[in-house]
C-alpha cells in the first residue's frame, strides 16, 4: 500500500498507509490527521482539504483541474503547489508522497 506523509503546519508528521483508489483527503480523514477538515467529503464543494504538494512530487500528482483551481483561488495562503487533496487519487506512483498542511482551512 502506498505511504503518504502529511506534515502539519506545526511540523508534526503523520505517515499513513493509503489504499489505492482513495484520495489523499480520504486517507487523512480516516486517520484523523488534524488540519484537513474536508467538510463536503470530497465533492469539491468546500475547499477545506487544501494541501501543499512537496515540489518533488508535483509532476506525479499532476495539476489542479479548472474547477479545483477556481476553488483554490479563494483558499488562504495559496501557493503554486496548492491542491485540494480530495482531487488527488492515490496510486502506486504516489508511494512516498509528501504533502504539507496549511495553518488553517478557513
Amino acid at each position: 500500500m502506498p505511504k503518504i506523509t502529511y506534515i502539519e503546519a506545526s511540523g508534526k508528521e503523520h505517515v499513513i498507509d493509503a489504499p489505492n483508489g482513495q484520495t489523499v483527503m480520504e486517507a487523512a480523514v480516516k486517520h484523523a490527521v488534524p488540519g484537513i477538515d474536508a467538510d463536503c467529503g470530497g465533492a469539491c464543494a468546500c475547499a477545506t482539504c487544501h494541501v501543499y504538494v512537496d515540489p518533488d512530487w508535483l509532476a506525479k500528482t499532476g495539476e489542479a483541474g479548472s474547477m479545483e483551481q477556481s476553488m483554490l483561488d479563494f483558499a488562504n495562503d495559496v501557493e503554486t503547489n496548492s491542491r485540494l487533496s480530495c482531487q488527488i487519487k492515490i496510486s502506486d506512483a504516489l508511494d512516498g508522497l509528501v504533502v504539507r498542511l496549511p495553518k488553517s482551512q478557513h
Binding site: 484523523a32 467538510d39 463536503c40 467529503g41 469539491c44 464543494a45 468546500c46 474547477m67 479563494f74 478557513h106
Partner: protein, 413 residues
C-alpha cells in the same frame, strides 16, 4: 452546568451531526465518557453520495463512513449501533434505550436527523416503492436500477432530481411527477429551476408538472402511478422524494420546545440547558440572516452544529461560522449554493445558462443574500465569503464578467 462538571455525554443519532460531535469533542480534549447511539447498523456515514455516486455504484459503503468503525473504540467513544433511544428522563438525566437499559448523562445531544415523508397514498406500501434517506434504502432500491426499468420519481427536489440523473445515466426510463408547476420550487428561483428542467428534459427525463398523484397501483408490486386526472404512468419503481420531517419524537415526549424542528439558541442549546440539538432535527438562529430561526438540511449545518456543541461542552472557543452552503451533482453539473435565497427581490447573472456555467446572485435590495452557481466555483466561493463577512457588491458590478470574481470580492465593502 459548567464545562468541567460534564463527565458524561450522550449523543442520540449516529449520523453526520452525531458522528462529528463525538469526534470534535475528543479533538477539543474532552476526556469524559461519550456514548454515540444510533438506530442504523452502520458507523456514522455521509448521506450526500447516496443519491449520487453510491446509487450509481461508483462508491462502496466503506468509503461513505466518516471514519473507519474501529476508530471509535480507539478514541474511547462508545458507539452503540442498531439501538434506538426511546425515552428521555430530563429530571433524572437519563436516556432509556430499546430493551429498557437506562444511560445517565450530564449533557445530551439530540442529533436525530430527519425522516422522509411517506406518500399519503393508497398503495404506498407496495413492493417497489422506495424512499431515499439511508444506505439501506439504496441497497434495497439499487438492484432495480437497471437499464429499461421504469422509474417514477414523485417530487422534484434536489434528491429526487439527483436520483433521476443517475437513473438516466444507467438507462432507466424516468418520469418525474411534481405537484408544483416547476421543479425545485421550494429551493431555488424559477430561472434556475427552468435551467434544471431543460437539462433533465434534454437527458430524456419526462416531467409531469402540476401533476397530483392519487394512488400507487399494483397487486403485490407497483405497476403504475395514478394521477387525480386519471392519467396512469407505468412504473417498476417509485421513488418518493417529497421531503423530510425533522425527527423530534424524543424532544416532544420530553417537553422540549419544538416547532418545525427542536428550537435552540445560537449555542445549539434547547429549552433545557443540559440538552443540545443539532443537524436536520434542529432549528437555530443564523447570524448572517438577522438571527432568523432556520432548520437547515445540509452537511454544513450538521458539521457546524457539531463544532458549536463541542465548544460549548468543553468551554472552548466557538467556531467561526460559515454562511449556509449546499451542493448538488446532476449529470456533469455541479450546483453550489451559499446563503439563503428566500425573500430575494432581484436576481443577477454572471455567465449564461447555455454555456452550462453560470451563477445566479440573489439580492434583497442592495444586499447579496445567496448564490446558485452551476459549474462556477469562484462565483460560489466569492459570494459565500461576501455573505459571511456581511459585505455586498452593487448588482451592476457583480454582473460585470470582464472582472474576475476574486478581484470583485476584494473590492467589496
Amino acid at each position: 452546568m459548567s464545562s468541567d462538571e460534564i463527565k458524561r455525554v450522550i449523543i442520540i443519532g449516529a449520523g453526520q451531526a452525531g458522528g462529528e460531535t463525538a469526534q470534535r469533542l475528543r479533538q477539543a480534549g474532552f476526556e469524559g465518557d461519550i456514548t454515540l447511539l444510533g438506530e442504523e447498523p452502520h458507523a456514522p456515514y455521509q448521506r450526500p453520495p447516496l443519491s449520487k455516486k453510491y446509487l450509481a455504484g461508483e462508491l462502496t459503503m466503506d468509503r461513505l463512513l466518516l471514519r473507519p468503525a474501529n476508530v471509535y473504540a480507539e478514541e474511547k467513544i462508545a458507539l452503540l449501533t442498531s439501538l434506538r433511544a426511546v425515552w428521555i428522563d430530563r429530571a433524572g438525566k437519563k436516556v432509556r434505550v430499546e430493551g429498557g437499559r437506562e444511560l445517565p448523562f450530564d449533557a445530551l445531544v439530540l442529533a436525530t436527523g430527519s425522516k422522509p415523508r411517506k406518500l399519503p397514498l393508497v398503495g404506498a406500501d407496495l413492493a417497489g416503492v422506495f424512499t431515499l434517506r439511508t444506505a439501506a434504502d439504496i441497497d434495497a432500491m439499487k438492484p432495480h436500477f437497471v437499464a429499461g426499468k421504469k422509474l417514477v420519481v414523485i417530487g422534484a427536489g434536489y434528491i429526487g432530481l439527483e436520483a433521476a440523473a443517475v437513473a438516466r445515466q444507467l438507462g432507466l426510463d424516468v418520469t418525474v411527477v411534481e405537484t408544483a408547476v416547476r421543479p425545485l420550487a421550494r429551493v431555488t428561483s424559477p430561472e434556475v429551476a427552468g435551467f434544471f428542467l431543460d437539462e433533465h428534459t434534454r437527458q430524456g427525463v419526462r416531467f409531469v408538472l402540476g401533476g397530483q398523484p392519487a394512488l400507487i397501483k399494483g397487486s403485490d408490486r407497483v405497476t403504475a402511478v395514478g394521477l387525480t386526472d386519471g392519467t396512469e404512468i407505468p412504473a417498476d419503481i417509485v421513488l418518493a422524494g417529497i421531503g423530510v420531517n425533522p425527527e423530534m419524537t424524543l424532544a416532544q415526549q420530553s417537553g422540549l420546545t419544538t416547532e418545525n424542528g427542536v428550537i435552540t439558541d445560537a449555542q445549539c442549546r434547547t429549552s433545557d440547558p443540559n440538552i443540545f440539538a443539532i443537524g436536520d432535527c434542529a432549528a437555530r438562529p443564523i447570524s448572517f440572516f438577522d438571527n432568523r430561526l432556520c432548520r437547515l438540511e445540509s452537511v454544513h449545518n450538521a458539521v457546524e452544529g457539531a463544532k458549536i456543541v463541542a465548544a460549548a461542552i468543553t468551554g472552548g472557543k466557538p467556531p467561526a461560522l460559515e454562511a449556509p452552503w449546499f451542493w448538488s451533482d446532476q449529470y456533469d453539473l455541479k450546483l453550489q449554493i451559499a446563503g439563503l435565497f428566500q425573500g430575494y427581490d432581484h436576481i443577477v447573472f454572471r455567465g449564461v445558462m447555455t454555456d452550462r456555467a453560470f451563477a445566479a446572485f440573489y439580492y434583497q435590495g442592495e444586499r447579496l443574500i445567496a448564490v446558485d452557481a452551476v459549474n462556477k466555483p469562484a462565483e460560489y466561493l466569492g459570494a459565500k465569503m461576501l455573505i459571511q463577512t456581511g459585505r455586498t457588491l452593487p448588482r451592476e458590478v457583480i454582473a460585470d464578467e470582464t472582472r474576475p470574481m476574486k478581484e470583485l470580492v476584494a473590492s467589496a465593502k
